[in-house]
């Protein structure tokens, strides 16, 4: 994929407060990149800089290979969907959608035809002549999307496009947005602080924290091989245990996780072991097999598709496990039980400050 958008080393401070601390990110042509991060980490600021709405302190923005340094917002050809939609009140749906064509001097008939086409695409033809103040949240959202697409931008930026909607509508529109994006084939960067949304929308996800990008990868990689502890904790639920490498395994106490062949960590180096709750399997009490650990069940709660089990390992580490309802242990496990814990899969992060485990575990 050739990059359509390239941001390099973007820095921005408001007053003395650094908000973007050297952000670099590239989005391939036709790709949808999700920008995921907690509130206040600088996502909107980055988007506004890409669109040319606010100046940056340092770095470069290239769109389709062209440096945007001296290109004003109105000439960047970037469609922007705002968090609050920012529709023009006192205008109809059609007038909103045709605004970009109007200010460019496209004649009325052509404008109307084009707007109609886009409204078809987002399923709003019926509402074309209604004032935007009288639309539902979901309809407004689609007007905002249609308006941004009407001028056929080469890049679409969406700032938390669904955060103002209730859950049901959000999930439906999520699919619609993705479908429209693929159909039009437009390159897109979508901001969200909802990891589920990021995974569904993004071909890749860029995880951001405190003005820095921590990882850019496919949703699967971000989830299964988080690059930092922050990413691990922010995307989904996770257990982080201290551990050490030995003979291709990561050990946390007696609990062992098999590593990929090519992992570069030396034997004896300290690591953080990243275990997803659903990757932990439980077995009835008994003699631990190699790589298993003994644990006590602290609490069990039923959560519909699965059971949530809070454990304490024999080394004293807290551990959360999710058992599918169909798991053989699911019917009989109860608070106070002793069980054996097995890690089905996991990943590690180097932990230069981690303390060495006593040798007898290895």
């Amino acid at each position: 994929m050739t990059p359509h958008l390239a941001a390099e080393g973007i820095r921005k401070s408001f007053g003395r407060k650094p908000v973007l601390d050297g952000v670099s990110i590239t989005v391939g042509t036709g790709e949808m990149m999700a920008l995921l991060g907690p509130s206040g980490c600088g996502k909107s600021t980055l988007l506004r800089i890409v669109a040319g709405l606010i100046p940056k302190d340092a770095g470069a923005i290239r769109i389709a290979g062209r440096d945007m340094e001296s290109v004003p917002a109105r000439q960047r050809g970037v469609g922007f969907v705002f968090q609050d939609y920012a529709l023009f009140p006192r205008m109809t749906v059609r007038e909103n959608v045709a605004f970009g064509l109007r200010v460019r001097g496209v004649e009325a008939l052509e404008r109307s035809r084009k707007a109609g086409e886009i409204l078809d695409l987002v399923g709003l033809s019926e509402e074309a002549n209604r004032p935007v103040d009288r639309l539902s949240g979901g309809q407004r959202q689609r007007v905002a999307l249609a308006r941004a697409l009407a001028m056929e931008p080469s890049l679409l930026l969406l700032d938390e496009p669904l955060s103002a909607l209730d859950v049901k509508v959000r999930e439906r529109l999520r699919r619609e947005i993705k479908a429209v994006q693929k159909k039009v084939g437009i390159t897109a960067l979508v901001v969200t602080h909802d990891q589920e949304e990021a995974m569904e929308l993004g071909d890749r996800i860029a995880v951001m924290n405190e003005g820095r990008i921590e990882q850019v990868a496919t949703p699967r990689e971000v989830y299964q091989e988080p690059a930092t502890e922050f990413v691990a904790r922010f995307v989904g639920e996770v257990n982080v245990l201290p551990g050490q490498m030995y003979h291709g395994y990561a050990y946390s106490g007696s609990l062992a996780i098999r590593m990929a062949e090519n992992q570069p960590l030396r034997d004896g180096s300290s690591v953080k072991v990243i275990l997803r709750p659903e990757d932990i399997s439980l077995h009835p009490a008994g003699t631990a097999e190699a790589g298993q650990s003994q644990a006590d069940v602290g609490s069990v709660s039923f959560q519909g598709t699965h059971l949530r089990v809070e454990l304490a390992t024999e080394e004293g580490y807290p551990l959360t496990a999710l058992l599918l309802r169909s798991h053989p242990m699911a019917g009989k496990i109860a608070e106070g039980d002793a069980v054996r814990v097995e890690a089905l899969r996991g990943s590690v992060l180097p932990d230069p400050f981690g303390k060495k485990e006593p040798e007898y575990y290895l």
Partner: protein, 278 residues
């Protein structure tokens, strides 16, 4: 003690407050207006009309309307510009300037007029400078305009500022990303969104200007038929003992203010209804 008595006392207090408020309203506000009417037509409508036809009377009304219109026009431009600067820009001294905007409300208008006279009058620094170039500001229309613009300045700034403050700015950003040039953005997005503030500010400015007295008397020279506005005319007539002549103009001025008030109410409730549907 009997709690029933308290309740009665309570009711009594409430009733007296109500009666006092209504009574004072009649005494302080309605009664003078009624007496004004009484005087104006005491000797019949014929006298009323003849008083209006006296030299200077209609001229004073016309001048007052012209000054009020011009003041409103000037302030809707510079007041709006000031409101923009105060709400949209962050710069050192912004808070100080923001506080200074209200100064015309605090200074006695006579003092304002006096200050302008000192500055632009024949002996003033600017007055001399302009006088040498054959431009006379004081004792003429420009002087009146200057005084009125100063006195009414805060109204437009505050009315437009309040709307600007509450209007989301992202609509302007949206227009930018859609390719709007700055002037298109102003006329298509910003102006429609501050229309209500402009209307309210204009009404306030206009009606305040209609009744302006203190600054006017200082800067106008009170020249009959030339710089004498309606309030000055009323005062002059009364001073010379012509109560009917003063009343005739006074009643028209009061009527005009009342109509403006009515119009403002109409415009504002009209808007309220519209928003109610939306």
């Amino acid at each position: 003690m009997d709690p029933g008595r308290f309740r009665n006392l309570d009711a009594l207090v409430r009733w007296s407050v109500f009666a006092a408020a209504i009574g004072l309203f009649f005494l302080l506000i309605l009664l003078p207006l009624v007496s004004l009417n009484g005087y104006a037509v005491r000797e019949g409508f014929g006298i009323f009309w003849s008083r209006l036809r006296e030299p200077g009377a209609l001229g004073a009304l016309r001048l007052t309307a012209a000054v009020a219109l011009a003041t409103t026009a000037v302030n809707s431009v510079i007041g709006t510009a000031m409101a923009f600067v105060l709400t949209r820009y962050r710069f050192p001294g912004r808070r100080a300037i923001n506080a200074l905007v209200d100064i015309p409300l605090a200074i006695p208008t006579v003092v304002t007029g006096f200050a302008l006279l000192l500055l632009y009058g024949p002996m003033g620094v600017l007055g001399k400078f302009l006088g040498e170039r054959e431009i006379q500001v004081m004792f003429s229309f420009p002087g009146l305009l200057l005084g009125h613009v100063f006195v009414t300045f805060p109204f437009m700034v505050r009315a437009v500022g309040a709307v600007l403050e509450s209007a989301p700015r992202s609509a302007e950003d949206a227009a930018r990303t859609l390719g709007a040039k700055e002037w298109q953005l102003f006329f298509l997005v910003t102006l429609p969104s501050i229309k209500e503030g402009l209307v309210a500010g204009s009404f306030l400015t206009f009606s305040r200007s209609l009744g302006e007295f203190g600054a006017s008397i200082m800067v106008s020279g009170n020249l009959v038929g030339r710089t004498q506005t309606a309030p000055l005319y009323i005062f002059s007539r009364f001073n010379t003992g012509d109560v009917e002549g003063a009343s005739a103009i006074a009643i028209l001025l009061a009527l005009a203010s009342f109509l403006i008030l009515l119009l403002l109410q109409f415009v504002q409730t009209g808007r309220g209804v519209h928003e109610g549907i939306a």
